[in-house]
Subunit: 236 residues, 2 copies
């Protein structure tokens, strides 16, 4: 039992997450809940990603932080709509985003025409993994600077994520980080999750992440079209 | 209002923290609540610290993790008593230590003859700062790899700590981290908190931290002796 919050809290959260999901579906948005420890490089990865997507896919960002608009300011520079959620003071200084907070953010984000929504969670390796926000998938970031044993010590986020981005590989030569051992630890917790190595600083490895992203957006879009087709068939 | 937990929860916590404090005082222990993001290097700093204290001060460790005994195993190698607290499953997978968890740990730790108790909190930059556990002081670790803006985005821990250890300065030449900007951000949140730069990997800067530690242990010991003297004077 890894859930530190009560079941009724999570059930209430899931109801709001389903409302968010409906809005995302109605607008054909693919939604990523991006999670990590503080300082793993979520924002830096999004900067690279938004620059690369420009002209190919339209993006929107919901930015979660305890305080400040520092990260939102960085991402607004890419000309995409960015909505800031500060958990302090609006949501009691919470250490994660939940569905209600994201719902509040959606009130200020026009989803029409947006292909992919990035929800950058509060930096925290524990609690964000417990709350659905209506996402298509959870993507987590680990950094070479954090050590190889995090999948074992904080297993929930590694277990519930669909993709792991191992960031800061530019530091590999300057730390004792052992990629093979990290991959082995990830596999003990989540044997099927792909791990993509990259550096938001140098851009190395970014293409594989972009390919994954474009592919997932396409698959989701195709699935939605198929569902719509099925619905029309059933109702005819 | 940064406290995300209810006031009654914190008041109940403080009552247990006071019980812990009594036990620490009765045994003349100086107690540090060591907090940081995951992967900032708390355990590595403790490894260096325990090695350096050997023969000078006797230490004990309460080790907090969501899962595994990996960190406790590392520290037991130094021949000091180490008690592991796993929040999962015993405490619902909580993302922090609270006074009750530490109290549970104290049942397995003989404080008699221990000069300094290190309580290594769960890696999390938000919630650990909210819970007193009976410590003399809160010491936090930041890592060069985490970026300079963390004091502004996660201010509570920086505000309630008495000392900040800036770890991984061996990476300074390999990142864009700006020490002056980081110090300026820390000062905006906590103008009087000392910041000591060190590298648990190379040992650089460790002496200043050890000097601080020995000095604080001595000051606390002298204060306790004075309090005892006053008590005897008052009761005679």
């Amino acid at each position: 039992m890894e859930i530190s919050v009560g079941r009724n809290v999570l059930e209430a959260n899931d109801l709001i997450a389903a409302e968010n999901r409906k809005d995302f579906d109605a607008n054909g948005c693919f939604v990523i809940n991006l999670m990590s420890s503080p300082g793993s490089g979520k924002t830096a990865i999004l900067e690279r990603t938004l620059a690369a997507l420009d002209g190919h896919l339209s993006a929107g960002v919901i930015e979660g932080d305890v305080q400040t608009t520092l990260d939102a300011d960085r991402l607004m520079a890419f000309g995409v709509p960015v909505v800031q959620i500060n958990t302090d003071p609006q949501f009691g200084g919470e250490c994660h985003l939940d569905a209600r907070m994201v719902r509040t953010g959606l009130a200020s984000l026009d989803l029409n025409g947006i292909d992919v929504v990035f929800i950058e969670n509060v930096g925290n390796l524990v609690c964000p993994a417990e709350f659905r926000v209506g996402e298509d998938c959870k993507v987590m970031v680990s950094s070479v600077a954090e050590g190889e044993e995090k999948p074992l010590k904080y297993p929930l986020m590694f277990r519930v994520s669909q993709l792991l981005l191992l960031n800061k590989i530019d530091l590999l030569g300057h730390t004792d980080f052992d990629v093979a051992r990290f991959r082995s630890n990830v596999a003990r917790v989540n044997p099927t999750m792909p791990v993509l190595e990259l550096s938001a600083k140098t851009g190395q490895g970014l293409q594989a992440w972009l390919d994954w992203l474009v592919s997932e957006v396409g698959r989701t879009s195709a699935r939605r079209a198929l569902c719509g087709e099925n619905l029309r068939t059933q109702s005819s």
